[in-house]
Symmetry: C2
Subunit: 252 residues, 2 copies
DNA sequence: AGCTGGTTTATAGCATACAGTCGGCGAGAT
DNA sequence: ATCTCGCCGACTGTATGCTATAAACCAGCT
């Protein structure tokens, strides 16, 4: 290994990318400029999806070579994707053993749901504080989409509308950090929830309607409370269905 | 590229690691068994530390080769560490350009602090619900350590005691998911906060003392409220000091 | 002088190669 | 037969090599 002192500038002699701060801002501010996403991104998405819809089951050992071959890439992008998957709670990386799909526990599910309640109710509270008519109109649109899916008994559309509605409330909160955390938690909640439950249906959408009215009238306190109760009921429903599933299995 | 259909078992023919679930649990349950941490972990820690204490400044371009050489490893572990650093908000990875130290903004700092308030107050509330005398005693110990550091005017010890106290409250909450999120947020808060402020000192520790009493008496509601106010004041102090710093800069 | 195009080169992304480690299996001992 | 020890293969962890790309440079033009 070369023996540079830690602090010595490595004297690459070459040119070095300018810092973003150095950018000449007098030019037309160039937008983020869509660059081709690296392979590892696609790999990440692919693996996450496989985990979510149970093609890869909890506890399963993810062998890098297999994933690489399956996806038609080398091990490198796979390993990088696994890093991200770990820090987002999808897999556990055990030194020298490799990656294992995270095994959900009852305890963790409950804590995720509790945390979700906290985060979502705060986002509703913030959303109500400065809601604009346009934003509220968008919420009502999503509500109508949900109602329609409900009467059509279209589960997929129902789930989509539900996610979109919650996501819009979150974005209305204006707090991006909060939004990030919610995205993280919600995705895992859905993973836990998926195998045992359909969405709560009619009841949930009545609660949505109420919530939207509170947001529209900028009643932040009640909006927050409603969202808390709404997500609490989801949590109860989770435990209920979970218990039923356990009983079915016991009989089974 | 080999042409397996996606779903076909790749028929490695070889043996495959047993799933953790398969383990023979009749034998003495083996503890996690400390394995040597991979290099990437050390690399992650090293880079994170450099970012936190400003050896790597916001916006700076992290060149993989340089980091690898500096740390005496190859590029591979560096790349993997950068993946994790990205998903935890320390660096931004731009396709084909590489890693740049995340540039903190005023807005983000405020949102981080607001989110921290939410999470910490919830953890205090939960901690108070089922506090045991032993846990409370530990809190009092940490409080005494803080008071001592205060009278000794020992900044480092003060910061350490403060972190330890908050961490213990979080662990008392019993919600690991919440704890994870707090760890994530707090670490970034400290990063933003560090360059412009020392801890609030005497005032903060008085608030701690009050909080501990509420936790001891299992008054979850007031414990939560106190923590909220406590972190809110930290937030105000942040903005105050930030403004002062900006003014100094304008003059200087 | 300032813009504009091609050229150069540092550097990220990906693939491949190598080495160390862990777990299972079987041969030999008891 | 059961237990122990060492071998063996699979797999991870790490290093290195190759390629594509994007930014800085520079020459020539306006």
């Amino acid at each position: 290994m070369t023996e540079w002192a830690g602090s010595v500038a490595p004297a690459t002699g070459g040119r070095r990318r300018r810092l973003p701060a150095d950018r000449d801002e007098t030019r037309a501010a160039r937008q983020p400029l869509e660059r081709p996403a690296p392979l590892r991104q696609a790999v990440y998405d692919a693996i996450a999806e496989m985990i979510i819809n149970r093609e890869l089951r909890p506890g399963e050992h993810l062998v890098e070579n297999e994933l690489a071959a399956q996806l038609g890439v080398s091990r490198q992008p796979v390993r990088e994707a696994l890093q991200r998957l770990q820090s987002e709670g999808w897999v556990d990386l055990r030194p020298a053993l490799g990656a294992f799909v995270h095994v959900p526990t009852e305890e963790e599910a409950d804590q995720l749901l509790a945390t979700r309640t906290l985060l979502e109710s705060e986002s509703a509270r913030l959303a109500a504080r400065n809601s604009t008519p346009e934003q509220v109109e968008r919420l009502r649109e999503l509500q109508r989409a949900g109602e329609k899916a409900l009467s059509d008994d279209d589960q997929a559309a129902l789930v989509a509308a539900n996610a979109a509605l919650h996501a819009h409330v979150v974005s209305m909160s204006g707090n991006k950090v909060l939004a990030e955390l919610i995205a993280l938690v919600d995705r895992r909640v859905r993973w836990y929830y998926a195998p045992i439950a359909r969405s709560r249906g009619r009841e949930a959408w009545n609660e949505h309607a109420e919530l939207i009215e509170m947001i529209a009238s900028r009643n932040s306190r009640r909006a927050g409370d409603l969202m808390r109760r709404h997500t609490e009921r989801t949590r109860e429903s989770y435990h209920q269905r979970r218990k039923e599933a356990a009983e079915r299995e016991a009989l089974g």
